[in-house]
Subunit: 481 residues, 2 copies
């Protein structure tokens, strides 16, 4: 049963995305709660691997893992006025349990600052307790008013949240910089998704934060997928939650806090959109649910082929690779097609003649080429080609990424770029007084002001693209998912 081709990823990215999610078994949207999806095996396995890389890096940086309750008492939210204002439209509330009405409403965590800070107030006493670095991997609930899309925006999603406290603002800021380094190292370095980190404008900060820094990926189709954000909370919450420490000078002080929130399920969407093509998914080797698929050819008539296929699989398994032997009753061509669509990096084709020649063909999903490999080089070659594939995916992603940024000097030019790429423009102000111009941009082009780069101080090259007044910043404008 030959399936239809996938929609064209460049011409119809939205249709392609919807179709690949279903066909590759990434998620099922037919669950009975609006905006909640079932994350299926093929995506969960990849996301578990993605979690591992991030968690290892956070642990190396001194973060200790915790599991906090999902339920947060309403009064915690009211301690920080901006925070409750920002989140209250999105909160799911539990008011009843069994047949009891609860004494206080409980929120399903939309984020856990208030939960962590309530305990920081008990745990942090002295400068010796600082820096205090924590994280948890958790499911998060937000009653989104916007249209939901699998992985990109759903009412329950999966993330890591770090919550840290420091004696000084400088140390807190260094941690925020380290968070961005983690994003670069893992999201680009391992998942192959290039990002730019922006400081968000004042009107787009995390509710309660002093400063927000967000990484953005731009898919080859020209739209932004928001990546991890990291926030300088400063003393905003710590004061309200009564977090204090006795410093070396024996004075009681309020620590500075930060938080960082890599949304694994959303980052997964950018992996799909960044590397995918008209044949389907392409997983970087390190996060592929299966790294190698072995397709025995004519196995039925030649049971020896199947025996050899299993032997090779065992060798790869012993060497720590994730491997599958496709023993289904499909034709080899169908199997090739299927596993290419699923994004498996390498395929081994094994026929009766290969047994005597002690070699086989190794197919690479990214370059779509077959390489002849001697059987004795199996493990070595899988490692080499796996790494080469990941490097190649990264290189291509970066090339596409850079090509999508265009300088613009008028709102007309913004309109032309947005939706197909990211517009680099002069802009009047990132403070409250710039919000009006930002609204014009969004109304005219559908694009949002992503912010100013933080990796480099950019020189303006003209007047504000909206109001024509003197520009203080170079900003980036794009449509997001």
């Amino acid at each position: 049963m030959a399936e239809q081709n996938l929609p064209d990823i460049q011409k119809n990215p939205s249709e392609w995305y919807t179709e690949i999610i279903q066909r590759a078994g990434l998620a099922d949207i037919r669950y009975g709660v609006k905006g909640c999806i079932v994350f299926q095996h093929w995506s969960v396995e990849a996301m578990e691997l993605m979690y591992d890389f991030l968690e290892k890096d956070l642990k190396k940086r001194g973060h200790k893992n915790y599991w906090f309750p999902t339920l947060i008492p309403e009064n915690y939210f009211y301690k920080e006025a901006e925070h409750i204002e920002g989140f209250s439209p999105e909160v799911f509330w539990v008011e009843k349990a069994g047949t009891d009405k609860l004494e206080e409403r409980l929120a399903l965590r939309p984020t856990s600052e208030t939960a962590f800070y309530s305990m920081f107030a008990l745990w942090i006493r002295s400068y010796k307790d600082l820096p205090f670095r924590t994280y948890q991997r958790a499911n998060i609930f937000r009653y989104e008013s916007k249209a939901t899309r699998p992985f990109l925006r759903s009412r329950e999603f999966h993330w890591i949240e770090t919550h840290c406290a420091f004696a000084t603002e400088e140390e807190a800021f260094q941690n925020v910089l380290d968070d961005m380094e983690t994003t670069k190292k893992i999201v680009y370095g391992v998942y192959g998704v290039p990002t730019i980190v922006f400081e968000r404008p004042d009107w787009d900060k995390f509710a309660g934060a002093a400063r927000t820094f967000g990484a953005d990926a731009i898919t080859p189709q020209g739209r932004v997928v928001q990546q991890p954000s990291t926030h300088m909370i400063n003393q905003h919450f710590a004061g309200q939650f009564g977090i204090k420490f006795v410093d070396k000078d024996e004075k009681e002080k309020v620590p500075y806090t930060t938080c960082y929130g890599p949304a694994i399920s959303r980052i997964f969407a950018s992996v799909v959109l960044t590397h995918g093509d008209n044949k389907g998914l392409k997983f970087p080797f390190e996060i592929a649910p299966k790294q190698v698929v072995i397709v025995p050819i004519l196995a039925e008539k030649e049971p020896k082929v199947l025996v050899k296929a299993k032997e090779l699989a065992e060798k790869l398994d012993d060497a720590g690779y994730r491997v599958e032997v496709d023993t289904s009753d499909k034709r080899p061509g169908e199997k090739f097609y299927f596993w290419e669509m699923k994004g498996v990096p390498l395929r081994i084709e094994l026929g009766p003649r290969d047994l005597t020649a002690k070699k086989f063909l190794l197919f690479r999903r990214d370059i779509e080429k077959k390489i002849e490999v001697a059987e004795r080089d199996l493990v070595k070659e899988v490692e080499i080609q796996g790494k080469a594939l990941s490097e190649n995916l990264k290189k291509n992603a970066m090339k596409s990424f850079e090509g999508l940024i265009k300088d613009v000097k008028s709102i007309e030019e913004v309109k032309k770029i947005v939706g197909k790429g990211i517009a680099r423009a002069n802009f009047c102000s990132m403070k409250k007084d710039g919000e009006k111009c930002a609204e014009v941009v969004e109304k005219e082009s559908g694009g949002k002001i992503r912010g100013t780069r933080i990796d480099t101080k950019e020189k303006t090259f003209g007047k504000c693209v909206v109001c024509g007044k003197s520009a203080q910043h170079v900003v980036y404008i794009a449509k997001d998912y």
Copy 2:
């Protein structure tokens, strides 16, 4: 600052348990929602390792991982009458989000059969789709009416749930047996907690199941901690949820389902209670958050000692062990005391003289003995002693376990044993008509009928311990946590 001794674990197990949870940093009960606790780093790290072992075994058995929504629509529950009857007193309900009242109440999952089965109805079509084996690691919510205790019973806890479907009852039952094998292999084989698997009496089955098999651990203090249960659901739910498949004979049939639920956070409690002693925790080597702690002695005056300590730590880290160098400003004696209390399996003590002699002392937490080790044998010896420690913990646990089972012939004897051990008694019936006698047992002794062994068919040795009528079964009676 010398701390007080821990309460005696045999004489005052309850006080010991409360105290060790706080002192070792396992959980904080001061969170603002009744019955919900903060799982702290030292337990979370161990529980993550525990998850790994279980998940690997389930994957090897062909289970694929999923992430299902936490929220379950109320109508799903009403499809299986016994199920809703059993769970409804324990369900947290979400009725509002933002300022909206939801069209249908949503349950925080108290277990996910109904969620999985709603999708099984869409996913399973043919005998080729069977067996269908899934699992998820998830947080679970139950509005417990009984007193909550950290890890043992809380209103949110962490588990794995598997949900599987099979073409025949035989295959389903084989899967249930395999689940018990997993319990034995991991809970005893890795965590060192011995269990007996019982078939539960009819009045203690999982709500909606045909048969329930539960593993029980008995702590050295004589009380049962319930371990993973596995359930033959048969066609009870599948029918109501419209799960059907076309079999080889082209007839439409209803599959048989099973589920298995290892509650990691509860199993963790049994690890604590089974291996602990008056000095604190004792972790099996494989699931210890830190496996080796290195205490440099006189490090301040001898910076070389610190350098060497870090060098050894790096070697162990490279070999894949979890190691910590304690560089705090506490005295060595305090450090010893602290890490013993935390349950770290091995300690390396490193002084200035050891540097020239190229050796060090290795302390084993279980036998409390120091072994002299040549530096060049570091990695090898850590592996040997780590394994030996785990084996020793298992052996001791099994010995204590077996000694706690006593045959009884009267309700007076039951009363004497229960609370200190497990009473083995003759009993009239495991069906509905035996429930009255079970109530008498519980009222008189505080103990519950755990069920009949399934690993062996036991011969009765007298009349029913309560009613004196002919006994059909040998049952086990114990108090649980």
